[in-house]
Symmetry: C5
Subunit: 322 residues, 5 copies
Amino acid sequence: MLVNCVVYRQGRKLADISVEAISDHLSDPEAFVWVALRNATDEELAAVQHEFGLHELAVEDARHGHQRPKIEEYGDMVFTVMHLVEYGPTDDLSVGEVAVFVGPNYVVSVRNRSSQNFLGVRERCEREPHLLQQGSGFVFYALMDAVVDRYFPFVDALESELEAIEGEIFEPGAARSNIQQLYDVKRRLTVLRHAVVPLMDAAGKLYGGRVPQVCRASGEYFRDVYDHLLRINATLDTLRETIGTAIQVNLSMVTIEESETTKRLAAWAGIFAVATAFVGIWGMNFEHMPELKWTFGYPLALGVIVAVCGVMYWRFRRSGWL
Amino acid sequence: MLVNCVVYRQGRKLADISVEAISDHLSDPEAFVWVALRNATDEELAAVQHEFGLHELAVEDARHGHQRPKIEEYGDMVFTVMHLVEYGPTDDLSVGEVAVFVGPNYVVSVRNRSSQNFLGVRERCEREPHLLQQGSGFVFYALMDAVVDRYFPFVDALESELEAIEGEIFEPGAARSNIQQLYDVKRRLTVLRHAVVPLMDAAGKLYGGRVPQVCRASGEYFRDVYDHLLRINATLDTLRETIGTAIQVNLSMVTIEESETTKRLAAWAGIFAVATAFVGIWGMNFEHMPELKWTFGYPLALGVIVAVCGVMYWRFRRSGWL
Amino acid sequence: MLVNCVVYRQGRKLADISVEAISDHLSDPEAFVWVALRNATDEELAAVQHEFGLHELAVEDARHGHQRPKIEEYGDMVFTVMHLVEYGPTDDLSVGEVAVFVGPNYVVSVRNRSSQNFLGVRERCEREPHLLQQGSGFVFYALMDAVVDRYFPFVDALESELEAIEGEIFEPGAARSNIQQLYDVKRRLTVLRHAVVPLMDAAGKLYGGRVPQVCRASGEYFRDVYDHLLRINATLDTLRETIGTAIQVNLSMVTIEESETTKRLAAWAGIFAVATAFVGIWGMNFEHMPELKWTFGYPLALGVIVAVCGVMYWRFRRSGWL
Amino acid sequence: MLVNCVVYRQGRKLADISVEAISDHLSDPEAFVWVALRNATDEELAAVQHEFGLHELAVEDARHGHQRPKIEEYGDMVFTVMHLVEYGPTDDLSVGEVAVFVGPNYVVSVRNRSSQNFLGVRERCEREPHLLQQGSGFVFYALMDAVVDRYFPFVDALESELEAIEGEIFEPGAARSNIQQLYDVKRRLTVLRHAVVPLMDAAGKLYGGRVPQVCRASGEYFRDVYDHLLRINATLDTLRETIGTAIQVNLSMVTIEESETTKRLAAWAGIFAVATAFVGIWGMNFEHMPELKWTFGYPLALGVIVAVCGVMYWRFRRSGWL
Amino acid sequence: MLVNCVVYRQGRKLADISVEAISDHLSDPEAFVWVALRNATDEELAAVQHEFGLHELAVEDARHGHQRPKIEEYGDMVFTVMHLVEYGPTDDLSVGEVAVFVGPNYVVSVRNRSSQNFLGVRERCEREPHLLQQGSGFVFYALMDAVVDRYFPFVDALESELEAIEGEIFEPGAARSNIQQLYDVKRRLTVLRHAVVPLMDAAGKLYGGRVPQVCRASGEYFRDVYDHLLRINATLDTLRETIGTAIQVNLSMVTIEESETTKRLAAWAGIFAVATAFVGIWGMNFEHMPELKWTFGYPLALGVIVAVCGVMYWRFRRSGWL
């Protein structure tokens, strides 16, 4: 589905045009066309490919989707795939994609399997003509910046979740739910890492040394995006390590708890075993057991048992088993 | 066994020829010969080696098989070994090989220990003469692309298996079968990694900077293959990490379950130990135990025991042990 | 809030000036202006940006804060973000920031969310005019050196804490508090690593090969700072590894302790089970049990039980279970 | 001990000569001398050093032995140390060494603490004069190839051992012997890794870019050796990872088994505790226990006990505890 | 404290001189001065700094000590810090330092917190004038070689300790002392790694490509030292990995032992529970229990109990629980 198709000249919007009219504006070196597609059909893609002369392999990647994030050069065209992350129906993260073709005087974005639009990006660009006149490279930056900025809330959400789990990690009895949640956070983390790490690796080549022609005017802006990706990546790395440690610590806590339970069990079992042995003794049927005939034999026996068990209880208590 | 031996000229099939006739066509700079062998005998290999003047070390690698995937240059010839993965009789992965010799005007593929043929590749190439006229390098790309594309279903299968295990990982009682399956997935993963990682490392040198002569015309196609290998590799890395975490989590779940069992055992043991101690007391043979003579002594005793045990049960319940 | 704004010429303080007067001094190639801001308002930042012509992206980073440490070049200006670590109210580490803009004849530092000032740095610089006349680059070094030197006490504190935990690690019963403290140390370590590692990576580019113009005169000083960062980083790496091992060893100790408890429990359970079985035998109601009629049957029975249990106790003792 | 000392010219053996006669043949640029020593005495080494003018540090390394594998250049001489692995008396791997000095017209090999000779290498070289006339570099390749080929059986043995252990890993009761064997395999693996990894790192520099003069003619042969080392290394890496996983899985299996034992123990303990409580009840000495007087009281009591225990058994069975 | 101060010319000792006389000899290009200081006072360091014109930052590092090992160039002077490891009073490793300043015609070594002197190095150098005439660079090599050679006994000691622990690792009951010793070895290993790894990284730059002027004449000697450091490092890496595996295996052994104890406990508990249940049955007070009246009731009952327990014992034995 075509979302927009607009010609810009010297940083200002010229007109909404139809896809077929694109080629009329490509000859003007000071203008560029910005096309946005959503869940594009094969016909739409073919039309766009024809207008801009896009490379077949790049178009195929945009058509099939399910690519890893990447930035590739085809002659003077830069082709980019970025992941769009959003919450799916079951609180899991779902991953869509936006493919961007950036040529000297055109930008084509193709969005798939995602409800996130880039209307805000277009509006902000149109409000800053002095930046927009850097050309198609700046639009590319603006799209990339928007995609990357949308990763931050997900990273923050993971950090909050992990902090919540950390608050529970030394609570007795929470081990099972902790480990489930940690595993869950780990899975979401993996989704984010897949979106961020390859894009970061690729974005590092958009400023500094040998840079694609279309990005050259906006080097410091791309470095800014790269810096954001570095920051997200550092946070994700820390999260990953923290999850690993938390799983390990959680396991330790379970073992420690179990060890304490075993001790307590051992202590009570000991106390009752002693009591049972005593009452067993006086339950024997020997004829000559003088204490059985004593008037105060019974209370005395009870007293002895309680006393012995009390001493045991006190000693277990002191050694921290109870 | 010889599968085919065909001469192509300017992207179109000229004729099926015999191996002995090959040298007649090698002088034509616009033609190339594409030979496919399966489980080649020493004689067949020697004949091919003689016709194309292949390097002895490369031919030996093709003859012996059991090589790791690699891409080597011998003068202007590129020698490649790729793994062909398929399901063996017992659901394990079995690994075959295809060795490809690519010269300026010939391609020789030697397939060993595998039932996967490349007839489809040849057909597709013959249907696209405008691409096939890029020469032997394009055939090399087409073969490599076919090999790499055949890895995807195996990776997908591993992902599905792992997801199935993940669905079971927090189920009580499934630990033993989970761990067996995880170990199994890990082994298959290793087979795939052996096929993919060295090939990826080597394929990264087929486009961009210093590239073998025969691959130069098809640089963007080789980058596409390389990108597929990167994608597979990223997925395999994630799988590997997920398996590691899953084994760890599985162990945690076993420990947690055992810890809960221990608590429950401790609770019931405690309750019955108390009951046993009480009945032991009234089983003692002291003469002066007045309660034994009471008419309602027995039901009272039972009531006391049930009451005490009930209180214990209730408290264990409240503290989550039962 | 403006802290100071001073002009220096040939290493000596010339005058305190107002922000508006800055531009009057920028034309003098032998002078430079050193401005220090704290929790700067948007207006103050805008004024400074205007005076020195700072790049918008850098100023935005200084305004928003929460950046990772970095050193970036914007033309002939070097922009740096460093973390300032201090103890928060609850013994946790809190992280502030200082952003430094270094141009050929100015240094602007903007401090956020931190109570640490840099007055001492300014004083020391003013006491050494022969060094200060290296220009703005030396001030940059002096600030960086001060920031890095303030990391050492935190690293030392972590080392002491870890040593204290290590002293407890083989103590029985300390497992739970050990693991909590280890987790705590790990968290603080992570905060420090975030401050140190990116700064170290960046600082390595301030001496040796291609170096920003303003830092060129002070190369050996920047190498000294870099060396300090390397040293801190090596210590943090060791701490991290030691924490990992300590958690593992702690878990081992818990398991060993539990194993010993289980053995002791098993031993006592065994001894009492034997005693209970014996008294049970003589508590049976068979009519023909001759030993029950013997005069010394009872003491003999007690003797047998004590003897058997004693032998068991002695054997368990010998095999280390008790 | 001198093993051989032979002069070759244009790929053919000329004569066996004495060490003292070596210098007579060194002036002929088309000839080279191949000397093999075993457990060389200091005098023998000194004589050889004198004849060829070998560097003192290299000779010292050959004399002392216990070096790590390496390839070093001393002017136009290449000095190599390689490990020779063999089974020691107690099934452990023992490590010997061969040091090789390769100059433009000589090869000296010094073998220490190993029973493996290189007579076969010499024979094979003499059978292929067209290769041998590549000069001393080819002899170097042939020795290296022989050493590396002798690593394969050890790697295969480790793989077989590991597979045997893997077959046992899910067998109940085999945990102790599994872990011992895994540890054993790990130790042998370490010995092999020490032989292979440094040699691989060094061998990668014998073909391609800047290569020592004596190796230049045999570049593709050295790449072949390097490829073998890569292959061995990849296998060793996989073995190492598999051992790690196997140890982890083995520990999991022990924990799972223990958990199942605990459950079974809990179940039977529960059943017998109930039975014991019941018989205890009817063992009490209350006067008014009507059921004790009933004619069928006893069988009824037994029936009740058996029924209750049976129900418990059935429920435990159903929930998988028994 | 000044240890020596000697002038050498063309590899031979000329004279012992005082620190103040040093500058008289610095003009002679064929002579160099070798000064050795121990726990130098600030005055001594200042005097030496003045004589040779040493850089302030380097002198400060030598004064403060507690540096990590490093090699730094200040103009044509090379400054080195190396760790000196020795056994402290409590069997722990204590770390001293030697700082070495190497200029074109001087060597200054400053030793701190260590009892190891370098008199032997000086003697050996003086005995080999043909090497010593390589100049100050050779003295630098000789000192470095001496320092590195003194690491070997510590590494060997760690290896022996670890082997001793490995011999105990499968012994039942040794887990606690094993883990303590492993932790101890790990700590010493860390001390050695801190001494070796940074020095190795730095020493790799003293031969081959761009090398400091003073080291150029002795390149092959520095490569020899570097090779020793590589060897130590490889051993330390192996030790580290082995310790990791040993801790893991030790934990496995504890778990396995505990699992066996649990089984044995379960088996005996089962046997005695059965016996107790039986004697409890015949201890019930039902009036109509015909077997109680039989003459051989009692021995028969005992026989039944023994038989049942015997069968249980035999079955547990067969299944490996006892």
